[in-house]
Amino acid sequence: MITLLIAVPLALAFATIPLRKLARLILPVVVLANLVILFALKPHVGKIIELGSWPAVYGITLFFDEVAFYFLSFVNMMFLVISLITRDERFSIPLLVMNAALNGLILTADFFNSFVFLEIIAITSYIISTDKDNALGSFKYLIFGGVASIFYLIGAVFMYVQGGTLNMAYSSYIIGMSNPELMKTALVLFAITLLVELKVLPFGLWVPDVYGNGSALTPVVLGSVVSTATVYLFSRLSLTFVDEHLPPVFYYTVLASIVLSQLGALYQKNLGRTLAFASMASMSTVVASLLTRQESVVSTALFYLFTDALAKFVLFTVYGNLGVANFRNAKTTGIAFTFSSLSLVGVPIFAGFWGKYYLLKALFEQENYVLAIVVLVSTLIELAYVTKWNIEQWFAKKETTKGEIENIDLPFVQKLFVLLSALILLVIGLFPQLLLDKTNLLAEKLFDFQLYRDIFFGKGGM
């Protein structure tokens, strides 16, 4: 049943190639269907699905647990919103394919499959990032992604050669038992690939050119959806299957990335690029927290991830459609923008505050002062430019003339979703426990390799 999440969008994508218009209409329906299936299957979490009835060791398997469920729901909901607000039919088919691949990426329990899905996501991302005639940025992304993905492939094959199976659970168990050092090497290879998608600095240098090109679609899809799915994969690989920390150099790179990308954002004179750098910084913060491998920190990192994705969705949608806006003529949009950006910084009563609050609390409980200070310093820098851009747009100098009136505000549907997201941020800000309970659960499951393994071994067995 869960297989439909991958099969249906993929099949429909290829079926509608001749009928682009139809694809645009089909996209929301498909995503909605995905959501329905998901929620229908919610009682059945904690299952594996073996395709073609091969035992898990040899065959292709999907793994569906709470973590996957929540990530899938989030990704599909974001997709639903995106599909509703996008009017550009050029990207409907790539979006369908991407949806399939994202679902696949989250569900799969097989190294090589995850590589394939990752590549499909990458290719569709390249296509989507050509929005607004941005072929050059897209090409840059392609070179980055292309080189990086090779490491993942090597990693996957490496796991196979050492462990004798491509199944994540089995091969990491076997290697973990026989030679944990090898497991770590493979993880380093995987991580390098994922860091490109996770926008950590030396690897995320493509981001400003791709996000900052003025498109509304690209940064939303890449920033809010793809990154989230990648975080899932990254946390699975680095938390569930490995018991050890990645080499410290990763941690330091990510820390540097947080501060440096904030500085990059501070310098920018273009709002799009500022937001691009900001999303690099926040994603780096999430990665840094994941790298600490502490359950409480990881839980808050996920909290931070979800609220951040939502906030970035609002910011990029507003920027993509309006550019540097004059909010006096678009008050609702302006309020949504301000709420989201304040949430991004972590101003109290917005969701982002609790993200940073729990993060700091967890970090201090673990006595991890370095990351805490880095987070505080980066927040300070972020605060400066976010304030600047908010004020710039609320107190814009130019008075709008009558001719411009049509495009001074978002269209209704977008405005609705933007406002809705901002309100969700506010509600989570007022009742953070709603989300925190979930992320605590997720973090607990992420760390529970025993459970993951038991599900497999109970089912398949060697």
Binding site: P247, L263, F353, A384
Partner: protein
């Protein structure tokens, strides 16, 4: 307390909606909320704990009550003044809503000893006020960014300390923390206390984090400057007072000089430098609002010195100075707002002679500066006297230099707007200026009365101060009625006031029995025997203290230092941007390098 906060928060939404119909309703709602809160709060005894939205976080200390009541006075005056003044704003709705929200936030700060709740309300205040700042002048946009950034330096340091304490004690309650604080190792205590104080220092505009005040106070909407200087800055002083008194500072830190511990001594030095910087910079300003902004820096220094002394007299003096400066700054900024309302400029040398057109505004300013400069019989003198007494009794002579320079210097700078704006030749441009409407006059007159009243009968204020001192185990300041007593002697505000009246009476009688003078126009002047065709220029206002200014004209500037620091950070950012703008080839190279690094280990 919960009710007050909820009313204020809901009121901010109501203020927004109602001002959509009629913009003057917003200030009226603010006024009503302030009055309601004042009446409610007056009845609540101190040391009351209350729930807020089901969390047991509100706790009213005497100190908090004192500051909250003071804030409400400032906000009430501000609200009344705004009823008319609001007409000049382009965005009255947001202004009203955010003003009320600022009140809510600031009251929240005073109502809690829970560090996180305090932080939340603190940030609420900052962000509510942040968006008010650029509402009238577009130059204020940059100022607002500085405001929020520098305040955030403080509040993040505070947050850091909060979590550090949490990781040690697993509580956010300040009272409980202070009980166990001495268990921590020394460096940690230093780190925690200094980080927390940073928030207060940044907010109250004490050196070295004072740089935001000039532009924010100077360019914010005119009436809001009154709240900024009279109220929001006091939030910082509140935090300093709370932390210094609730932590057992005197036992935690070793004694240094004259019965003052080392931490207090450092704070006193910050206060000293603030006074010096604030005074000298204020003397230089040609913009009257910026001038008072720097005076706020100097007065925050006074408050800090008083509070850091942490004794019977000095601490009380610091707290009393909070009251005085809040009221005085509000009066001064409101009178400036009145001037700007009629003339549209804040430049001292563009104005002149307004006393002949706006007498009530002038009186407000006059009493304001008398209090600010600490001249009896206004309340401003009492606090200065207390601080002086404490300093002298400890023999802190170096600090005295700064305090005296600040005190005499304040005569210099407050006289500059007095002479340039209100006195001197009336500019022909402003011949037809009228006094501001009666509604704007009301708060000004009320504040004048408040200042003089508490200058003569300081009992009520002292009661709060003594309460706060007792609460934190400091020896209480002694007073009997209007007689203020210290170990080095006492004085009686009432007798001084009476003698002042007697002296005045004698002078008035002398004046009245002597022949009456003949009224002649301002243009009828000694002109060194020259024929003057333009009396607009016969007015000494620009570069009033030029002979003094040039003595320290090429002083080092902290503002420039910070600006260049930001530029340095930005050029780092530019470096990152350069990396981005290079094409892919370079990056893969980097990728390789990183990979190698990984393999070699760290």
């Amino acid at each position: 307390m919960q009710n007050i906060l909820l009313v204020a928060i809901i009121g901010s939404v109501a203020g927004y909606l109602l001002s959509l119909f009629y913009r003057r309703l917003g200030p009226i709602i603010l006024l009503l909320i302030s009055l309601y809160a004042f009446a409610m709060l007056w009845e609540i005894p101190s040391n009351t704990a209350e729930n807020f939205l089901g969390y047991d976080v509100l706790y009213l200390t005497t100190l908090g009550k004192y500051f909250a009541l003071l804030s409400l006075i400032v906000f009430s005056a501000y609200a009344i003044f705004n009823i008319v003044w609001i007409e000049t704003l382009k965005t009255p709705h947001a202004f009203n809503a955010l003003s009320i929200l600022t009140l809510a936030g600031t009251l929240g700060v005073f109502f809690t000893t829970n560090l996180v709740v305090l932080y939340i309300f603190w940030e609420l205040t900052v962000f509510a006020s942040l968006f008010i700042v650029p509402m009238s002048k577009s130059e204020a946009k940059r100022a607002a960014v500085w405001y929020v950034t520098i305040t955030a330096i403080g509040s993040f340091a505070f947050l850091f300390a909060t979590f550090l304490l949490y990781s040690k004690f697993y509580t956010f309650d300040l009272v409980e923390i202070s009980r166990n604080l001495s268990q921590l190792p020394k460096p940690t205590i230093w780190l925690v206390v200094c980080s927390m104080l940073t928030a207060g220092i940044a907010k109250s505009g004490v050196f070295p984090l004072h740089v935001w005040l000039r532009n924010v106070h100077g360019k914010a909407p005119d009436t809001f400057s009154a709240v900024l200087s009279g109220q929001l800055v006091k939030m910082g002083s509140y935090l300093i007072a709370l932390l210094l008194s609730i932590f057992p500072v005197t036992t935690l830190f070793p004694h240094f000089y004259g019965g003052v511990n080392i931490l207090s001594y450092i704070l006193i030095w910050l206060g000293n430098v603030s006074i010096l910087v604030g005074t000298l910079m204020a003397i230089k300003q040609n913009d009257m609002k910026m001038l008072i902004a720097f005076s706020t820096v100097a007065n925050s220094g006074y408050i800090l010195i008083g509070l850091a002394l942490l004794d019977q007299v000095g601490f009380a003096g610091g707290l009393f100075h909070v009251f005085n400066h809040a009221i005085a700054a509000t009066m001064i900024f409101l009178s400036f707002a009145a001037v700007v309302y009629r003339t549209g400029t804040t430049k001292i040398d563009e104005l002149g002679g307004l006393i002949h057109r706006m007498p009530v505004t002038f009186i407000t300013y006059l009493v304001g500066i008398i209090s600010l400069a600490g001249i009896p019989p206004t309340s401003g003198f009492i606090s200065k006297w207390m601080i002086f007494q404490s300093l002298v009794s400890r023999g802190m002579f170096v600090t005295e230099i700064f305090v005296f320079v600040g005190s005499i210097g304040s005569f210099l700078y407050v006289f500059r707007p007095l002479a340039g704006v209100f006195l001197g030749q009336l500019k022909s441009k402003y011949k037809d200026v009228r006094e501001v409407p009666i509604i704007m006059q009301i708060p000004m007159i009320l504040l004048v009365l408040v200042t003089v009243f508490f200058g003569v009968f300081p009992g009520q204020v002292l009661e709060f101060i003594v309460g706060a001192q007792k609460e934190f185990g400091i020896d209480a300041f002694q007073y009997e009625g209007t007689k203020l007593i210290t170990s080095m002697g006492y004085w009686d505000t009432w007798i001084v006031f009476v003698m002042f009246a007697v002296g005045f009476l004698i002078a008035a009688v002398l004046y009245l029995i002597t022949p009456k003078g003949k009224k002649i126009p301002l243009e009828d002047q000694y002109t060194s025997g020259e024929f003057l065709h333009n009396f607009d220029l016969y007015h000494y206002a620009s570069r009033f203290y030029a002979f003094l200014e040039r003595e320290y004209g090429d002083h080092p500037s902290l503002e420039n230092l910070y600006a260049s620091l930001v530029n340095a950070l930005k050029s780092l950012g530019k470096g990152i941007d350069y990396l981005v703008s290079r094409t892919a080839s370079a990056y893969v190279f980097w990728l390789g390098v990183i990979l190698l690094l990984l393999w070699k280990g760290w």
